[in-house]
Amino acid sequence: MSWLEPSLAAEGARIMTICNACRYCEGYCAVFPAMEQREQFGPADLGYLANLCHNCGACLPACQYAPPHEFGVNVPQTLSQIRVASYQLPRRKTVLMLGIASAGLLLLVLLAGTAWTTLFARHDGGAFYEVISHDEMVRLFLFAGAWALVGMGLVFAIRHGVVRGVRRADFGAIRRGWSDALRLVNLGGGGEGCIEEHERPAQVRRIYHHFVFYGFLSCFLATIVAAFYDNVLGWRAPYPFASLPVIFGTLGGVALLIGCAGLFRLLRERDVALSDKGERGRSMMLLVFLFATAATGLLLLVFRGTAAMGFLLILHLAIVFGLFVTLPYGKFMHGFFRIAALIRFASEQGD
């Protein structure tokens, strides 16, 4: 069976055929020029177009055929449904349960394994490894990291055909694809901005997304540097406030808090007609995980010299663990598919 349900495939093709005869929205984003290069819209084309769509929402209120018109054209929602299907393996609920269960399990295991007294004892300057041993921590996160990487790799390997072009993209296309992705040029409603409350276009979503993405990157960098300190230089955590891991982590953490809270609020207030329920849920779940990761990380930094440290550390680790475990099955995957689709777009438009 194809990854795309026949009824959804038919609806996608129907809508793209109408858009292709209309083309009024061609200035908004990459989806429309990519569509204009096609006449047929099979699952492979639909998956590619769906991953080019950033769900800025501009093309719904602008559509002269939007519901309740009898043509009932809703591009953002239809592409959102197709997009979720394009990288969805198990059901959404399973994923959610998986995340919560693994985080809970880890919490229990760690709490049980840590003597009550050590947990709430005052640790000198935040001696993390008195709470959980260094080796134990490394083992846990090697496992979680491997789980996430293998899972993401599997999902991408199974579905990459959806977004990858037939021909090899040249260096220029790769550069343009990355540049479009890093600047989120397609999340701008063609310059107007995304559609937010009361169908008012604004750039806030794009800005919050930048906070989340670059915040995440900064935290990731902090982790890499810390791992380097730990494994190569043999410097053990906790690191001083003026050290690189703490600076990157703090900046990234604060950016994540701002970005996740902002995107979450926009998503909650947003017209539900603009996207698929499943994709909305997945986005919210990822935002909650990222927010919680950043929040507990920052709390840990502030209170690492107090009796709360042990508990905060375990909470933080549990959340990070849960995040890692759910990465391959949630909204996080959109990044890889998006970049692949944008590179393909750059290479298709280039010739």
Partner: protein, 459 residues
């Protein structure tokens, strides 16, 4: 008592309401459509024709005043008021900045498929995005908007407007105002009215735009003493896919395959030279041609050689491997269609096919001839599309002066009635059509009317 009453909710009405509100007038706007379908035919538009002497923002090259005016003269056969036409054309040169300041975004020039970027500026997202932006701006300026307010009656004495009555949720309402801006479009949605001019044939017409332009306001103005302009029996109609909705099918129902094959009526006979002239120029005659055929239906037929040469249409072609099979699929007599195609194929002369110019591929001793792009219809699969006349707009309107004031029977302007948009477009576009000029007229006269109305109440 209101200050300014604007009737209509499309481009012209919104430009008037915004202009009046910006000068400080209190404005009430009555739109008969529900919110989801607000914006009249303006929601189906995509560009505005603008003069410019050098390349500017989204427009390439130059499109000077005289060339614009010559184009207008050509399509209208001289049925235009030169003074009003030149005023409109000149005002189109800086209209984009005004529009942009009120939320309209334009598409960058030369984007992909568009060749029109010399003469026309394209709205980002099309006319509905433009209408949405104007409604937001109008609301921000404090314009009060009532949807589903169907104005049926105007009270006028000696050409002076007193009050309007409208129906909302089945209840009649009366509203007095000091000045009226009438911007309620033409009467193209009023099938009964169209029947007066076209007879029962009108029942088979499809309306490309809004179902709400019933012409009540236009008729009330005329009954109230306004001078008429434009041919009341004429309308702009093109050939569209017969499977389109009765109303609001918009742009996607048009079909560009006519010049690439043959067109037959329900008897399977050809009835007009499909290759008479380049497509954009001949675009508008096919509505009328099909309206004159039995049952107002026709069929465009092309073969596999031509299938990639026209804009994809929204409905799938009806496909068959032989001409008789295609005839059956289209509901035509197979023998009749076979005979027509055979005669046509016999008459086709060899030439060098080039769809972008008036090439030398034509028929020999055939009535009607096909004078260009004639190719043998011989390569299966064959594609057929059913066609019907699709009305874009009507020409009848009220006469206005350069202040957008409605002129009364004696030629004197009404003290407090202004008109803008399609309801007065006949002053400039007596017949024919120039792509994008509808929005130019509506924007120009909407602004003039709104400013005039505000000055009137502030004086």
């Amino acid at each position: 008592m209101e200050d300014v009453l604007v009737i209509g909710g499309g481009n012209a009405a919104l430009c008037a309401a915004i202009s009046a509100a910006e000068l400080g007038a209190r404005v009430l706007l009555l739109e008969c459509a529900p919110k989801d379908f607000r914006g009249g035919n303006s929601r189906h538009t995509r560009n505005i024709r603008c003069m410019h002497d050098t390349p500017v923002d989204v427009l390439t090259d130059a499109y000077p005043e005289d060339e614009y005016f010559d184009d207008l003269l050509r399509v209208t056969g001289g049925e235009t008021d030169e003074h009003l036409a030149r005023l409109t054309i000149r005002s189109s040169s800086d209209v984009r900045a005004w529009m942009a300041a009120r939320g309209v975004h334009f598409q960058r020039a030369l984007s992909g498929t568009l060749q029109l970027s010399r003469t026309n500026a394209f709205f980002l997202g099309g006319g509905k995005a433009l209408v949405n932006a104007y409604y937001r701006t109008a609301e921000r300026l404090g314009v009060r908007i009532v949807y589903e307010a169907d104005v049926r009656k105007l009270e006028m004495t000696d050409g002076r407007f007193l009050a309007a009555s409208y129906v909302k949720n089945g209840e009649a309402q009366r509203v007095e105002a000091r000045v009226l801006v009438a911007a309620a479009g033409g009467f193209e949605s009023n099938l009964r009215w169209l029947r007066e001019a076209w007879g029962p044939a009108a029942d088979n017409f499809l309306v490309r735009g809004t179902p709400y332009n019933m012409g009540w306001v236009l008729r009330e103005l005329i009954d109230g003493g306004a001078q008429m302009i434009g041919d009341p029996t004429q309308c702009h109609a093109i050939a569209i896919d017969a499977r389109s909705p009765k109303f609001d099918g918009g742009i996607v129902t048009r079909l560009d395959s006519i010049t690439l094959g043959i067109v037959v009526n329900k008897n399977g006979d050809r009835f007009y030279d499909e290759g008479e002239d380049l497509w954009p120029k001949r675009y508008a005659i096919w509505g009328r041609l099909i309206a004159q055929q039995p049952d107002q239906i026709a069929y465009s037929i092309v073969d596999a050689k031509m299938q990639r040469r026209f804009m994809p249409s929204v409905y799938p072609p009806i496909e068959a491997n032989t001409i008789p099979e295609l005839a059956l699929a289209l509901g035509l007599d197979p023998h009749a269609l076979k005979k027509t195609v055979d005669e046509y194929n016999l008459a086709v002369e060899a030439g060098t096919f080039d769809h972008t110019i008036l090439d030398d591929c034509k028929t020999h001793y055939l009535t009607p001839p096909k004078s260009h792009w004639a190719q043998h219809l011989d390569t299966p699969p064959y594609w057929g599309y059913p066609l019907r006349p699709g009305i874009t707009f009507t020409y009848l309107g009220v006469k206005v002066n350069e202040h957008a004031r409605v002129l009364l029977q004696d030629g004197v302007p009404s003290p407090n009635v202004f008109a803008a948009g399609e309801i007065m477009a006949g002053n400039i576009l007596g017949k024919g059509y120039l792509g994008g000029i509808g929005m130019t007229i509506g924007t120009t006269f909407g602004r003039i009317a709104g400013e005039g109305a505000a000055r009137y109440v502030m004086a």
